[in-house]
Symmetry: C2
Subunit: 365 residues, 2 copies
């Protein structure tokens, strides 16, 4: 049974780019117990695709997307902390999104959903935190896109957290990542079945989503990992008998498997909205284009920015920028540079490397 709960956002909910949402909300899960002084909250904001189900619980024993990180005696220890994971506003995994019904029309929003910014996701997450009766979190943890959301939470809601863990995040989008995401969106939009957002299960932009997902997986991992993992190993039964350009190499079937597991599990319009929100994000907007100054205007007591040398999508210098910027703002702030070979996705798989620095930061509470 899903342990996901629903939180009503204030209605109207003002969006950064000027249009209000009405009767919107976010899905979330929690683990652990809020202390009497309401000071042990840890908010987790996610990457583009995960749901709020970050870890299993009694209510929902299914493993979560960060199962190794969150739980009793795990790095984010649910015996000590009240852990909240929010499904991003705009995500089809429970929160209000382009796939939701617009109460004004009774039909899906699709492309009538207002422009979605990272800041809106941040405001929704902050509203949830306050709605749970928490004025000040112990920590905000943001992974990947969630790293952007977390910085927006901290910048727009001063004093909302004592500490910050930025995991393979970024304070603004750089052109290589913009190019990748733009191409993913283009592949979806070029699929005739996308139909300006008016698809259904029978007419679904499967091809566009396949290309977008495979390109995503290529940039989420690293060449170094794949040299060791796949090399030039061929498939035992390749598909060339039927198709002269069919798959022959193990790396191709790996991508295929990822695409097949994703394609009909994620709403294409939501993908477009969330992807674009990352391209738009630039914390520097709040300091005349100076990202470092915007970071330095965030006030937390302690912070770590963790990244890996093999990440090509949110490269390590972006985590360094965050660590340096928060330090300039007065935080005891540290860059944790890991050499995990798994690229951007390392935080999901190399928990042996990511767990200890997160545990050390949280142990100081």
């Amino acid at each position: 049974m899903p342990a996901t709960k629903w939180f009503d956002l204030p209605s109207p909910f003002a969006m950064k780019r000027g249009v209000d949402l009405h009767h919107a909300g976010v899905a979330y899960e929690t683990w652990g117990t809020l202390d009497a002084d309401r000071a042990n909250g840890v908010l987790i904001v996610t990457g583009l695709s995960p749901s709020a189900h970050a870890a299993s619980s009694e209510a929902d024993p299914e493993p979560g997307w960060w199962e190794g990180m969150i739980g009793p005696d795990k790095p984010i220890d649910t015996r000590r902390f009240y852990v909240i994971c929010v499904n991003t506003l705009g995500s089809p995994k429970g929160s209000t999104s382009p796939a939701s019904i617009d109460p004004a029309t009774g039909a899906q929003y699709r492309l009538t959903f207002p422009d979605l910014s990272i800041e809106d996701c941040a405001d929704a997450a902050a509203a949830l935190v306050h709605g749970l009766g928490i004025d000040r979190l112990a920590c905000v943890v943001g992974c990947s896109m969630g790293g952007m959301v977390a910085l927006a939470v901290l910048h727009r809601h001063r004093g909302i957290a004592r500490a910050h863990v930025s995991v393979s995040g970024a304070a603004h989008a750089l052109p290589f990542s913009i190019a990748i995401r733009s191409l993913q969106r283009e592949a979806i939009r070029l699929d005739p079945a996308w139909n300006e957002g008016h698809y259904d299960a029978a007419h679904y932009p499967e091809n566009g989503m396949r290309i977008a997902r495979k390109l995503g997986v290529i940039t989420y991992r690293s060449a170094l990992e794949w040299d060791g993992r796949f090399g030039r190993v061929r498939l035992e039964a390749d598909s060339r008998a039927d198709d002269p350009f069919g798959h022959e190499f193990k790396v191709e079937s790996y991508l295929e498997g990822h695409a097949q597991r994703f394609v009909r599990q994620f709403d294409p319009n939501c993908y477009l909205y969330l992807s674009r929100s990352m391209d738009w994000f630039d914390l520097g907007e709040y300091a005349d284009g100076d990202v470092a100054a915007a970071l330095a205007s965030i006030s937390v007591e302690r912070a770590i920015a963790i990244g890996v040398t093999t990440d090509i999508l949110f490269p390590l210098q972006q985590q360094e920028q965050i660590a340096d910027g928060l330090r300039a703002g007065g935080a005891a702030s540290e860059l944790v540079a890991l050499s995990s070979p798994q690229g951007h996705d390392a935080f999901l798989v190399d928990l042996a490397a990511f767990g200890p620095p997160i545990a050390r930061l949280l142990d100081r509470f």
Copy 2:
């Protein structure tokens, strides 16, 4: 007036994977004069997309794709060397290819063209060299895919050259590059207009080719270059008024320009064949899977392998592998590691860095 000439390959021309080509040939251009002792030949084998027109000449004053590298007193000095650039077998830029008419049927080969391997491109280039009356070249220069072709030329035609310049090449394809190329081919094949290879100008897989080309350009350049060149600069007139997911950033219009210049200038079936030939290439096949041993079985007097640290498609360690392998085979062999920010494409644009080491190698003749 194009200066391109035509060379008839032996007919039948045996292909590596077992099917013969009949009445096939390759397009080529030459610059300079062959010495009386026929010892000053320099063969250039190209990347996937260029034609044989590597440089201007009296017959064709249009600048070539390596204009800054080839000419009187340039690094590849046409006062001293007889320079030959061959259009790759399988390329639509003049040589026999899937876009050519099959003499047996009178119709375009399309997907009935035999499986094309890098080794076939190499054999065609070697046949041209011998056909021009040259037993032993001064040097074989191979760029990108041409780096693979050049190694196959040297391995399959022992003694054909005294020296080798490998420019951003590779002795075998690695999984990251295979994944990128597999995805490019998938984008073309998923375009309904591709129609199993039976397109024409009115029904052309433009969308698939756009995605393939943009993905190519992303991997041909580097994030480092783009941070400096594009940053987060927006277009003066973005296209969002008409299209909520239209282009907003300069990097997006840059990719768009590249796609528009490429899409109808390159035959999609040829693209599929040439792209697949790179995935298949593995010099290690000739030494029980041991690439280093296969390289060491090549005999040249001198070699350099030039690469750049920012190349993600043919990464520097692949050039290092070539330099080391040829040295083990007895060559005076050197790795030239450049820090050009332009990634894989640096050899086309950073001639100030690539020219001198090539000139130094050729000066020793």
